[in-house]
Every structure is written in C-alpha cells, then in structure tokens.
C-alpha cells in the first residue's frame, strides 16, 4: 500500500518550470530512485518532499492525509540529506552525531554506536571532522540517518564521494531500513546499490514555451 505519495506536482525555480504533472507513490519498505539529467529537478523534488521548497501545484500525502495539514509531523518523520554534509568541522565525529540526535530530542548512545559501526567509522569517532576526507564526511552524514532514525529518508545523491566499501555500507543500511518498513527516496547518477522503482524526471520536464 502506498504510504507517501505526490499528485500532480509542479515546481518552479526562478522563471523556469522544472517539472509539472509529476506523481509518485512510495509504499512502506519500498525505494524510489529519481533519475534524470542535470537540471531535471531531482534535487528540487527532494526538497519539495522535505517541505523545504513549496511546489507551485499539486499535493503530497502521507497515509492519504495531505502533509501540508501537519507540517510538524512530516518534518518529524523524515530525514533529508542534501549535497552538503552538514558536518561541523570543529566537532568530532561522535559529537556531530550526538548533536543532531539531541536536536531531534533523542538520546540513544547505542544507536550512535550502531551508526558508527554500520558505516565503518568506529576508529574515527574521536577525530575532529575537519580532518576527514570528503568520503568520510559523507559517511558521517549517512551515519546521522542511523543515529536519529525516522521512517522516511530523502537522499540527494547519497553515494557521492563514497568508495566501493562505502557504497556497500550504504546499500546495507538502506536494505536494513527497508526491511524495518522504512521508505527511501534517492537521486543518483551512478549505481547506488539500491534496487527500486525508478522515476524518470525527464518525462515531466515541461517544454520551454508551454507555461506563461
């Protein structure tokens, strides 16, 4: 059954209509892969789903209830990962994870331990994040998803800068998340190691002169 869905969404960036008439549905335990060339609106769609960007048309629903009716609840059940890692260089890996957990109103050291182990960060836990490589910072950002769990993951090119082992770790954490009934929407150019329904954004691109 479809848990998270969007109907007839349209999004505008500046003067340009990025996509229109876009609908999607994600069931519990399912993954939705956003595909499309640069500028086709993958990031915009993910930001719409997260509520960071307001679509100019269409509705999104969770469990058949429009998410706009309860934006707070929607924020609480999603975790968004954008292009930037949001990792503070001055804090250690462990502090970075603990911080976001606290900000989400949680306190669960075991979950942080699992997150560090799940992404192979165990040895780096006490290191200031400014010493990390781009791939390691990305791992910390992904570990945040495990340290403060939520059912809906919105991931914008999550495997950027990851090595093969990192991609394997990511595939494993997504599989575990889905096995527990979690939802994943992700955009990717390469192979993220995740199988799922594909949404090709190029189909919803609007020709330049349709809208005025």
């Amino acid at each position: 059954m479809t848990l998270f869905a969007g109907h007839d969404l349209a999004c505008r960036r500046g003067e340009r209509l990025v996509f229109a008439g876009l609908s999607f549905g994600v069931a519990a335990g399912a993954a939705l892969l956003l595909r499309g060339p640069n500028g086709s609106g993958k990031s915009s769609l993910l930001r719409c789903m997260a509520g960071l960007l307001a679509p100019i048309a269409g509705t999104q629903t969770w469990n058949d209830r429009p998410i706009a009716l309860d934006a707070d609840a929607h924020r609480g059940r999603l975790r968004y990962l954008g292009h930037q890692d949001a990792v503070k260089p001055a804090l250690t890996v462990l502090e970075n994870l603990a911080l976001w957990q606290q900000l989400h109103g949680l306190r669960d050291d075991a979950a942080i331990g699992r997150a560090l182990a799940g992404l192979g960060l165990g040895r780096l836990a006490g290191l200031p994040a400014r010493l990390l490589s781009a791939g390691q910072r990305r791992r910390v950002a992904l570990a945040r998803l495990l340290a403060s769990p939520a059912p809906l993951w919105l991931l914008d090119e999550p495997t950027t800068a990851l090595d093969d082992d990192g991609i394997a770790c990511f595939a494993r954490m997504v599989a575990d998340h889905r096995a527990a009934g979690g939802l994943v929407v992700l955009s990717s150019h390469g192979d993220p190691g995740v199988a799922g329904e594909v949404l090709a954004l190029a189909e919803f691109a609007s020709p330049p002169e349709t809208e005025s």
Binding site: A50, A54, R75, Y80, K88, A90, L91, L99, L103, G105
Partner: protein
C-alpha cells in the same frame, strides 16, 4: 527545551573550539573607544561629556560587525537545511542562535563598558545604569541584527547591505540607551528610559525570530 539548550550549547562550543569572532569584536570595541581620546584630544571634560554616546555607538558597531556571519557557515555547510527540518520551530532555532551569539558578544561588551567608561572619564554615578542599559539594549541589537543577517544571506556584499538595513533599526535602542545613562549622570531617574529599552527587547524577542525564520525559509528555497 532540551533541543533549544543543546543548540545554544553547540554554538558556544563551536565558538570556543574555532576561536570565534567574539574576541575580535571585543578588541574592536576596545580599540574603537580608545581612538576617541586620540581624536578628540585628552581634555577630560569633553571626553566625559561624549563618553555615553561613544560607548553606545561603538557597541552598536561592534554588535553589527559580529552578527553578519550568524547564519553564513550554517548556510554554506548545509546545516541550515537540517536546522529547518528539526522538530523545534525555526523561530526557536533562531532565538537559540541569537542567544548564543549574545552570550559571546553582547554580554562581554556590556561587562567591558564600565572599564572603558573609566578610560573616557565618565562620572562613576553612571556606571550601574550604563551596564543595565547595555544589558537590556544589546540583546535587542543582536535580535535585529539576526534579522538583517538572514535577509542578506547569500547576497553578495552582504556586509554593507546589512549595515544599511540594520543601523536605522538600531536608532531607538541607541536613543533610549544614551538617555538612560545621561539621566543618571544628571541626577534624574533613569527608570523610564530603561523601561522603554526593556519594552523594545520584549517586543523584539517574539517578532525578530519570527521574521528571521521567514527570511531563512526564503533563503532556503
């Protein structure tokens, strides 16, 4: 509430770790105030007469100097997205960041002021009211400055634009802050002026974070 305090603590911790602008602001304040005896001349009665104004105007400029970068690093490293998605309302996120910022800059400025007042030869009767007025006024400056910082986020030459936006809004706090100290120096009651400063602060506490949050959402779109 725990999330609010965690955010304040985080900002303080980050500032301590990476040596924030806070120390620079205090040094700026010190130097700017100490320039006046050189510029105006060492004649103590002139210095004493302008001391209140000097201390307030430089405090205002120092506050402006520091607030510009309030959201820049959050914006650049993607943390602002994450902050906007917290269960905590964005306006409270803003309030927490402004509070941390005030603890790092406004509070030390307030505590430093009486020592600079000595250097300017201000009559010591004015010290308590000077500290009190700055304690009530600088949080308002931080709150208004935060709004300006959010509005200029992502703009080129944000700093100059920020000054244009924010300095006019600082005028009420300046007027009543100076009036309070002058009143106490001439033996009049400072309470009415302090009450107005407090009223400005009470108005700024709900209004500025709310408007700042709206500006931040705009910046995130």
């Amino acid at each position: 509430m725990t999330a609010f305090l965690a955010l304040v603590r985080r900002d303080l911790q980050l500032a301590m770790r990476q040596g924030s602008d806070a120390a620079l602001v205090l040094i700026f304040y010190l130097l700017a105030v100490l320039l006046f005896p050189f510029g105006v001349g060492p004649e103590s009665n002139i210095l004493a007469r302008i001391s209140t104004g000097v201390l307030w105007v430089t405090a205002l400029l120092a506050a402006l100097l520091a607030i510009e970068r309030l959201f820049v690093s959050e914006y650049e490293d993607g943390s602002l997205d994450q902050l906007a998605l917290l269960p905590l309302p964005l306006s409270l996120v803003v309030l927490a960041k402004v509070l941390a910022h005030w603890l790092l800059t406004g509070l030390p400025l307030t505590l430093l002021a009486p020592f600079l007042a000595i250097a300017l030869g201000m009559d010591e009767a004015g010290y308590p009211v000077l500290v009190l007025a700055l304690a009530l006024g600088t949080p308002t400056l931080s709150l208004i400055g935060g709004l300006g910082a959010a509005l200029t986020l992502g703009a080129r030459r944000g700093g100059a634009l920020l000054a244009l936006l924010v300095l006019p809004l600082y005028i009420p706090a300046l007027i009543f802050g100076v009036a309070a100290v002058d009143a106490s120096l001439s033996g009049l009651a400072a309470t009415p002026h302090l009450a107005i400063l407090a009223a400005l602060l009470l108005a700024a506490i709900p209004l500025c974070p709310w408007a700042t949050a709206a500006a931040l959402r705009q910046a995130l779109e």
